[in-house]
Structure formats: C-alpha cells, structure tokens
Symmetry: C2
Subunit: 326 residues, 2 copies
C-alpha cells in the first residue's frame, strides 16, 4: 500500500482509542494484509488481528475480540446494525482509458441505466458524461436500504436496476464478473445488459450467459421435482440470515407433504453438505451459492423461488432471481 | 437411529421447554441428522436447526438461535462454560470380540496405562479385567479439567497418560486413528504405545508413526528457520482459543527481530491461508492442524513449541507435543 494511503485509517483508529484492531480483507486483498497490519501496528501503536475467515461482502462482518473492526473493500449495508465496524474504502483504480466504454457503446440502446460495484463507483459521473456526449440518455438508480451508493449492484440486490426499469432501454454494467449483472438480465427481461470490463478492456452482451443459467435453473428444478426431503440452508452471516423465510419454506414444504429441515451454517461449501440424507437443498444464504457453484454440489441447490416452483406454488413463467431485501 | 434410543433426549428437550433445538453432529454422524431431526420434531413438537458447520469436538460448540443446543458424539470439557448445551452421548458399539485385544496383548509390557476416546470409554472396565487375567497391571489415569472421563484422550490433552507415566511401562490405546495416541508416544519417550483397533480387529505399535512424524516436524522447523514473517493462528472456537499465548508468541518473535501477525479464524483450512505474505505459520488452534495436514499447506505450520525452537528459545532435545491445557 502506498505511503499516505492509510493515514485516514490510522486517524480513525487513534480517534477510537482502540488497543486491538481487527482487519477483514476480501480474498483479493490478502496479499496486502501483513503489510497493512504491520503499518497500522507501527503507526497507531495497536495490535492487529487479521480475520482469516473468508470475507465476501458487507453482509459478512468478522466477529473478533477487538475494539474496532476495519472492514476493507466493501461498502456498508446501511440497514444493518454493525457494532464497532469501520468500513475502509481502498481508493479504486483510476479511470485510465475509455476503450472498454467505446467497445460497449456500440452495443448500447439509447436510454441506458448505469450499474457498477463499490470498486468503480467513483467512475460513474465521468462515464455518464462520456456516454451523454455519444448521444445516450443515462440513468443511475438510487439505492435502497441495503445499498450504499447510487448505481451500486450487489449479487443479492438489484434495486438500482429495477428502480429505473421503466426509464431505460437497457443497462451498462461496469465491472469484471458475470454474476452481479446476471440478476438484472433475468429480472428485467427483454432489455439488454452489456458488461464493460475495465480489466480486459472489452465489452459483451450478457444474453448468452443469462440463457445458459436459465437452462441450468430449469434443470435443477426438474431434478428436484420428486425430492421427498429438503434441506433448507440458513446463513449465520449478519447480512445473509433469512431464518423467517426458511421457517416459512419449511412449513410450505410440509403443507405439500414433503419433509424439510433447516440447516444453519457460516460458510456454505460443497464438502460441508456431503453426507446428509436430503434429496435437494434450498438456499436462503447468499444467492450466488445456488447459481455459481451448482456443478460442485451433488444434489440440486434451489433458490427459494425455485423451491416454490417445485412445490407447484409458482409457475416457471413467473421465475424471478433471488434477492435479499431489507 | 433405533426406536427408543432417543427417548432420553426427547425428555430433556421437553424438560427445558425448548421451542427451537440446535443439533450438532460430528462428521461421521451426518447420515443420521435428518432422521434424528425428524424424530425430535415429531415427538417433542419443536423445530430443529441442524448445524452444518463441521464439528470436531466439545471444543467447538455451535452458536445458533436455539433454546437448547444438543451436541452429539463428544463428551463435554468440564472447564468450559457452555450456554444451553446438552451433550448427548450416543451409545457406543458393544464390545463384541476380544480378538483385537489378544492381538495387542502380545505387544504389551507388564504395567499398562489404558487410554481411549469417548466412544469406547464404556469398554475400559472389561478391558482392564481381561488384561489383568493375562497378568498385566493396569492403570487408568484420572482426568484433568478438560477431560470428562478417566482414561479419556483428546488430540490436544494427554493428561490421563502423563499423569500415570511413572507407574506404567507402556500404554494401550483402544481406538481407530493414530493421532490421539501419537501425542502420548512423543510426550512419553521410551515407553511403547500400542493401538488396539476394534474396527479392524488388529493391533500395532505406534513407534514408526511417531518417528515419521518427528522427522516431519524436524523438517518443518528447518524450513521455518530463516522465516522473517510469521502468521500466528488463533481459533475462534470456545475450546481452542489461545489468544494470550498468541500475543506472547508475537512479542517473543518481535524480541528476536522477526515479524509476526495474529490471524483469527473459525475453521482452519489450507485454502483459507493462501495468499497471505507470511513465510511460516504458528498454529495455536487445534494441535492436529499442524501435524496431520502438513502436506496441504504451502508454508511450514509450526506448533508454539516448535516456534520456540526456530527462535532459539528451546532446544530440539526438549521437543514436546503441543497440548491445550485448562
């Protein structure tokens, strides 16, 4: 980390009179962990505890015996009551070239909704201005209570997209992965979702990924059709826990003559679900689990809405992507 | 689970007026989880939450939003203050044959210390009597505050062995794996440790395993000799957390001009430690981690005592196996 970048953080730590500081890094910043801990200890006179549990978002804040938890790389979820957590936004990369935008621009309709993740949120005004000069009308959706910024997209919250649905002909997502904009492509049918990837410098339409994922979801629902026993997964993470929903789904299953038990866990991963005698899983934790890691699980893993389809309480034509709403 | 076996458990749940019951199973009992949860829900009128985080022992009790946690398959650690936890001992297998004991008996010295794990503890009186008829003098060590039963061995507590060290010429461990008795073979040099394996019906001397592990430990210490930056692992689990020790080790390292940072985590596993820029790990969590999974970690993983050897504060001739003592 360059000298000076952490000065604001050191000031906060001093201001809190913290003696022990917990540090929580997303996986991509693990390489910075020791360096930052050493710098903070030297400059702020504290002891750092690095959280080595994986961190996937502001939904998942470390519980450590520290006076202050510094959570790096994610924006807070405003509706959650965090205790002694300071969200430290590392400065995002500079917007060095518009090449990836030029690549995207040819794929865009006239009226465009702009979407991105925390990392690139500082780019949105410049991108809006640039696309306006190209003749586009740009909308950036206001956040709901789980989102920190206008235009911010989470893999479990597409409010900034659906909020402006009626005012746009399509979306531009600035970012690197498929998962965040995938939900938009499924929730808002008929409107193109274009990814402008600043790391690769390329752009692409998400339609093929969307269609492939929908085929996979259809197959998972079909595989679970005759399941007798369901395991309903509930996360222990502060921003992922949906116990009330899980209890409702269990009651729903039992009302349909199926068996269902609730499974609670912190990190959801394929080996941890092996051995249990269930025919299918229903995931109420991070929606990404059911979608992205599907091939690694032995049994089908359904979203709550897909479970309703299996039980006959929802039609496939009313398929919606799972979201966690405040 | 056979009918009737769970009656005592149902009674306890009813007696506590629990509405929500958390169930925690060791990995080997996952196949029973759904069946038991269904039976408890039907008979006790409660909702069960199955903990799907892996459970390795009474050091590691699930934190769940339940009125009562039922922890299966492990004996409690008496010194820990558990909240609302009922330890439910599944009945162990019957002692169907003495063949594995006959195989062991030929390897045993005259005065023998008997050791086992929770699962087989009911067999100890019969085994003692049998070996006495063969001419042996048998001792069964009293437990310390982390152990529930006489003769009980944990992978992190060998008190029932060392307590009777002066009164025996060797040990008989009744059980299936190498790890539990391995610590005894290292902590009590010069006295044979014989495993009588009731599942395989065979017996063996642990001396070769002990020597191989000691060579591995020597190699790990050598690999860490010139390490500049150490990561000191602290567990979040109630019976594994040794933060004070970790802070002492960090100070010790810094006194020797090495860098050290504390890493806190729940489940310790190789992929979770990848990416951090440390040259070696020091593990204060479950001692088994450094010993059994050594080949899966990129960097050497040392026990606290091995770390002292690396720093020059302990001689290899004073090598001791790591234990967690109350």
């Amino acid at each position: 980390m360059a000298m000076g970048e952490t000065d604001r953080l050191i000031e906060v730590i001093r201001g809190r009179n913290a003696k022990t500081v917990g540090l929580q890094f997303p996986v991509g910043l693990r390489t910075k962990a020791v360096e930052l801990a050493q710098e903070i200890e030297a400059k702020a006179g504290v002891t750092c505890l690095v959280s080595a549990d994986p961190s996937f978002g502001a939904c998942d804040v470390a519980d450590m015996p520290a006076d202050l938890i510094v959570h790096l790389g994610h924006a807070p979820m405003p509706h959650l009551r965090y205790r002694n957590v300071f969200f430290y936004d590392l400065p995002g990369p500079p917007l060095a070239s518009m090449a990836f935008l030029d690549a995207a621009e040819t794929l865009l309709p006239r009226r465009v909704g702009l979407l991105t993740t925390t990392q690139y949120r500082g780019w949105l005004p410049a991108i809006r201005d640039y696309l306006v000069t190209k003749g586009h009308e740009i909308r950036i959706g206001e956040p709901d209570r789980r989102l920190a910024y206008a235009g911010q997209l989470l893999g479990c919250d597409y409010y900034t997209a659906t909020e402006i649905e009626k005012d746009v002909d399509g979306y531009l997502y600035v970012g690197t992965g498929d998962f965040h904009p995938l939900g938009v492509a499924i929730l808002v049918p008929g409107k193109p979702v274009i990814i402008a990837d600043p790391e690769r410098g390329t752009a692409r339409d998400l339609v093929e990924v969307r269609d492939r994922v929908l085929r996979q979801r259809h197959a998972a629902i079909a595989r679970a059709h005759d399941a007798e026993t369901f395991g309903i997964i509930v996360s222990k993470k502060i921003g992922q826990e949906r116990m009330d929903l899980a209890r409702d789904l269990k009651a729903l299953a039992e009302g349909h003559g199926r068996r269902a038990n609730i499974f609670m866990m912190d990190l959801v991963s394929p080996p941890l679900l092996e051995g249990y005698r269930v025919d299918a899983w229903v995931n109420t934790a991070c929606p990404r689990i059911a979608i992205e890691d599907i091939s690694q699980y032995k049994q089908p893993v359904l979203t709550p809405q897909e479970f309703e389809i299996v039980l006959g309480d929802r039609d496939w034509n009313d398929y919606v992507f799972d979201e966690i709403r405040a």
